[in-house]
Symmetry: C2
Subunit: 71 residues, 2 copies
Amino acid sequence: MEIRKIFAANLKRYRQARGLSQEELAHRAELDRTYISALERCVYAASIDVVGRIAEVLEVKPSDLLVETVE
Amino acid sequence: MEIRKIFAANLKRYRQARGLSQEELAHRAELDRTYISALERCVYAASIDVVGRIAEVLEVKPSDLLVETVE
DNA sequence: ACATTCTGCAGAGTATACTCCGTGGTGAAA
DNA sequence: TTTCACCACGGAGTATACTCTGCAGAATGT
């Protein structure tokens, strides 16, 4: 599984679980709304700084966002 | 703990545990030697693509490289 | 139908990740 | 001392992450 897809899936899943829109998450993490959208579509490879900031907002560990979910 | 420091510490620790030099790791991960050096000194925030490639060479999960070690 | 919220996406610009060249310093072994 | 493997670090260039603006489509509610 590509790491971008893993990250994108976890990002979207945790974001929706917290009831946050892309815009609200972007604002809290001080990122651009369209960038969050792009990350969920695997357009870019986020830097670990961004992973850390998003994890903080979503109240998960940074490593959680890179864990491949077994389902 | 800053995420760059966590990543840098894990990178260095796993690399040395595998008995790899920065240059050998760089070659296997198709990255530049000076870049690996810089990552271990927290100069840059690696992209998750790079995290994935390094994890593969070190034979660990990408998320392992972002886990804060308790010590 | 209409308004509103959310998201996808394009284009252009800026910041920074990443490469490639080099130099020099340290420590271990011959 | 000399050699050698390893690493820190600088500078300049290229690739790409990230921002900003704007427009349009889908979904939801009135």
